[in-house]
């Protein structure tokens, strides 16, 4: 055969093909394919992280391919979300990549508020803070927002070591503390958990269970069954639309409505007489022990809160009151929730106690489907607790604070008392912000020491508000930090080193967390859930008092805790009534005292009442720069990327307003202009404004978008109120 070019190619190709086939057969073709598939399936790695999109702190499984974070799913074994996930958790991977994130330490170079900053080294920034604190350690303070866990304990220990009593917090809910009504009526000093999973009837006064209250995913799961939800809310919220009964009282009249229900419960004998006799103090007139005979709760309610009067004051028809009372008092474990974040108006204490008195009438403290107490996880304590001051503005105005560290708080945006805040912050010698976004308050800062994104740092959390489980969650960094930020906890530990604070002599934050976790290991209770199949059997055994060591030594416990991210104890739930009422009774007398004050009619004649609310996508408080969340607002508002003024069509018609028109709102505090959306979901005398947008400064997408209700809301001191009277007018185009 003549060796032509064509023949050469043909021979070579045939030879190579035959060799390839032979090689494949030698190794086993099917096995080779299998190996490829196996490799493909193993490519994906999963790491646990805690979500910090809101106060619920769900567990997440972050999925990695080639060390790239490509997906986030809910962690199936985390008791809060059990595999579910919400838009905020899903968007963490994009939030981390936000180009507007602060990623280097900055020092102010122009006047305060000018927004002129220059990049500085960590060394220079930390030296400046150390010198400021050294000059007056007792005048150092930390203002914190919404967070829990070891971060909270670390800050307390840091301030205590400095000898400073000023640990300030600014937030709607205080999850580590019981509400004032619980302290005064039951003598509690730990937060209670409401057993929503065990309740047959849940009466929620304005708690947006599916949008922002505590753990919306948990509540969505446990209330999706046959629980009857009664929602009291002036707005037809998503939660209200899922309720069996929804009632829309005039804002601020929740307390009157609650006592109106109590009236029907008492008159129709729908209350737990045994509980009332054994536990309630101040129920009957003759039970009082304060000198002359004082009216009892029964007299007060029966004489002053008849259905007709309550109908006139609240706007809820008497027949609806009867329907709610019969549902609430008609059997099945019932529980009433008086835990609305922004409070219940000017008569907040009265309203909360009035609502809470319904829990006394149905005997919900300490029973299944009622209220329980969750023991704190047995973490190694860092030092004695320092109770937070929840009226930070007054503390700052007193002028005793020279250096303020700002962590997860933006009062110039989130407080109605902006002007007072600006003046108080201006008095400081040094304002240091740990913010990750250049927000309103951080622009006033002298130094910005950017925190890391939640996926880039160590996090932990203590959950006490979920009935039936005492829960500690922990997660290590799952991705490398972007930029030169540092975890705020590491910065505080570094400051402690430079200031020679021996109580915080830890080489780094993980070693502090490790020490804390040793307490869990040594407590000989609780467990780290490993698999769904095991957990039910173990749960059953543990409920019967059995405990079996899962790990021989702390090192393996610590490794497992990092991998699984959860330690829980189902036995740490106290239902005994004595636990729920450590003072020995359920005292209604504080309510009687509050009820003596004259009632101020809540509705302004002719004016419209403005009420703020948090939409689910923005309930984390730091989401205004996230394009996916802004786009998802198309769901609740019909238009993406904005938070409109919600109006009833009747209100709008009187002012010739249509959806999309611009309207001006004026209150005694200020004014704002925004687009309107007409909806029947709000009543004719009301205007609703979503909270979460309207930032002056919050990244490219978040700045100047939407309106901030706080520009109009009245300032009622430390209690966030959330409503105000406004005038509405149309802004003519052009």
């Amino acid at each position: 055969m003549k060796l032509s070019r064509r023949n050469f190619m043909l021979t070579t190709a045939t030879g190579l093909g035959a060799w390839g086939l032979q090689a494949c057969r030698g190794r086993g073709g099917a096995e080779a394919i299998k190996a490829v598939e196996q490799w493909k399936n193993q490519l994906k790695q999963t790491r646990f992280a805690l979500c910090d999109g809101c106060a619920a702190r769900c567990g997440l499984n972050c999925e990695f391919v080639d060390d790239r974070l490509v997906g986030i799913r809910g962690a199936a074994l985390h008791p809060v979300n059990q595999g579910a996930i919400c838009p905020k958790g899903l968007d963490l991977k994009h939030q981390r990549l936000d180009e507007d994130r602060l990623r280097v330490p900055l020092r102010r170079k122009g006047p305060r508020g000018s927004g002129e900053f220059e990049e500085v080294s960590w060394e220079s920034a930390l030296t400046q803070v150390t010198l400021a604190i050294q000059s007056s350690p007792q005048a150092t303070s930390l203002l914190g927002g919404q967070y829990r866990g070891s971060t909270d304990d670390l800050f307390q220990t840091f301030l205590q070591a400095l000898g400073s009593p000023h640990y300030l917090r600014l937030r709607c809910l205080q999850p580590e503390l019981p509400g004032e009504h619980l302290r005064r009526m039951q003598g509690l000093d730990s937060p209670v958990a409401y057993d929503l999973a065990g309740a047959k009837v849940v009466l929620s006064f304005g708690c947006n269970l599916f949008e922002g209250w505590q753990s919306p995913l948990y509540q969505a799961r446990v209330l999706a069954g046959d629980t009857d939800l009664i929602q009291i809310d002036p707005r037809y919220s998503l939660t209200a639309s899922k309720a069996r009964v929804w009632a829309a009282p005039h804002p601020g009249t929740d307390g009157i409505l609650a006592l109106g229900l109590a009236n029907i419960l008492l008159r129709e004998g729908l209350y737990d007489a045994g509980f009332a006799h054994r536990w309630i103090k101040g129920f009957e007139a003759d039970q009082t022990d304060r000198g002359p005979v004082q009216k009892g709760f029964k007299n007060l309610v029966l004489q002053g809160y008849g259905p007709e009067r309550v109908e006139a004051l609240t706007g809820i028809p008497a027949r609806r009151l009867y329907q709610i009372a019969h549902l609430f008092g008609g059997g099945g474990p019932s529980v009433a929730l008086a835990e609305r974040g922004p409070g219940y108006g000017q008569r907040d204490a009265y309203s909360k106690m009035a609502i809470h008195s319904l829990n006394a009438l149905v005997g919900s403290p300490g029973r299944v489907g009622g209220m329980t107490l969750q023991a704190r996880p047995p973490l190694t304590p860092l030092g004695p607790a320092l109770r937070a001051d929840n009226d930070p503005l007054s503390a700052l105005e007193a002028g005793e604070i020279k250096t303020l560290l700002l962590y997860r708080s933006n009062p110039l945006y989130s407080s109605a008392a902006r002007t007072r805040w600006a003046a108080a912050l201006d008095k400081l010698d040094l304002l240091v912000s740990f913010a990750t976004q250049m927000d309103e308050t951080s622009r006033q800062a002298d130094l910005i020491l950017p925190d890391l994104h939640s996926l880039e740092r160590w996090q932990d959390d203590v959950t006490l508000h979920q009935a039936g489980v005492s829960l500690y969650s922990l997660s290590s960094p799952v991705v490398e930090p972007w930029g030169r930020g540092r975890a705020s906890e590491e910065v505080v530990l570094e400051l402690a080193r430079r200031l020679n604070l021996h109580s915080l002599a830890f080489p780094d934050y993980p070693s502090l967390l490790r020490l804390r976790a040793e307490g869990l290991f040594q407590a000989r209770r609780g467990r780290i859930p490993q698999a769904r199949e095991d957990s039910e059997i173990q749960q059953l055994l543990m409920k019967q008092g059995y405990w079996q060591a899962q790990y021989d030594d702390f090192a393996s416990f610590w490794t497992a805790l990092q991998a699984q991210g959860v330690w829980l104890d189902e036995q740490a739930s106290y239902r005994g009534r004595a636990h729920l009422m450590p003072q020995g009774n359920f005292d209604l007398r504080p309510l009687l005292q509050e009820a003596k004050q004259p009632w101020v009619a809540p509705l302004h004649r002719g004016g419209l009442l403005l009420v703020s609310f948090k939409p689910f996508a923005l309930s984390g408080g730091r989401n205004a720069n996230q394009s996916r969340l802004l786009e998802s607002l198309a769901g609740p508002f019909g238009t993406a990327w904005e938070g409109p003024i919600l109006l009833n069509p009747t209100t709008a018609k009187a002012r010739d307003l249509r959806t999309g028109d611009l309207a001006r709102l004026v209150s005694s505090r200020g004014e704002l202009v925004g687009p309107v959306k007409l909806t029947e979901a709000v009543g004719p005398a009301l205007i609703f404004l979503p909270f979460g947008l309207g930032h002056e400064f919050f990244g490219k997408r978040g700045s100047g978008r939407g309106v901030n209700p706080n520009h109009l809301l009245a300032d009622f001191g430390p209690n966030l109120v959330g409503h105000s009277y406004v005038e509405l007018s149309k802004v003519e185009a052009g």
């Binding site: 991977k93 829309a248 996916r628």
Partner: protein, 232 residues
């Protein structure tokens, strides 16, 4: 062969949008931006429609999550001039993006309006870091292409791979789409409608079950369980 279907319980659904967000994240649906979104060009393979009826305070609201209905007789398939969309394995209405010429006939034909058009190269316009964070199992779509829910078909392929690896029959592989997995109220059920042992097959036969626009004869495989009549 399985016939994949979905049942959505409107009694349980509270309109939290977790399913829509999970779908967007899983299937690489990028945000289209403010001006595009205002023109109604938002891409969300699973959209949530709000149906609010009545006058304040006598109101009734239904939040209706709407993925592609995966019709057994899909109108979109019939009108496609280039056979880019077709009824694929397991009854999933599939789409070949490379073949799509962007005529949008399918969008016009779809009575449920659950097909979406890429007016621009939205995914390509994302910052490089965000592009890197995309789900590698799902290809991003270029400009001029129609897209829609695939019932997370890529997860089916993965489940089949797993079944093969474990020595099981890939035709009997079971999988769960991202929306079902994310739903906190467990309102979404997914499975084989032809397998009478599955929850989804049982619920699809429920007296509360119905399908959208059944009279059109499209035979959708997404069923809705009506809200219970106890609302006062």
């Amino acid at each position: 062969m399985s016939r994949w279907g979905m049942v959505i319980d409107l009694e349980k659904c509270n309109g939290c949008e977790a399913c829509a967000a999970a779908c967007q994240a899983e299937c690489n649906q990028p945000p289209v931006g403010e001006s595009e979104a205002r023109m109604g060009r938002k891409i969300s393979w699973l959209k949530i429609s709000e149906e609010l009826t009545g006058k304040f305070p006598d109101l009734h609201r239904r939040m209706i999550p709407q993925p592609c209905m995966q019709c057994d007789d899909p109108p979109c398939v019939r009108v496609c001039p280039v056979h880019a969309t077709y009824l694929g394995e397991g009854g999933i209405v599939a789409q070949i993006y490379q073949r799509c010429i962007g005529c949008r006939f399918c969008m016009a034909a779809c009575p449920y309006t659950v097909k979406y058009f890429n007016w621009y190269n939205y995914a390509g316009g994302l910052p490089a870091a965000e592009q890197e964070a995309m789900n590698p199992e799902v290809s991003p779509r270029p400009r001029g292409v129609v897209e829609k829910c695939t019932f997370c078909h890529h997860r089916l392929l993965l489940a089949k791979d797993q079944a093969r690896l474990q020595g099981n029959d890939p035709a009997r592989a079971v999988y769960h789409p991202a929306c079902e997995e994310a739903c906190p109220a467990k309102a979404i059920y997914f499975g084989d409608l032809d397998d009478s042992t599955t929850e989804v097959a049982r619920l699809a036969q429920s007296h509360r079950a119905s399908r959208l626009m059944e009279d059109l004869g499209t035979n959708p495989k997404v069923y809705y369980l009506a809200r219970k009549e106890n609302h006062g």
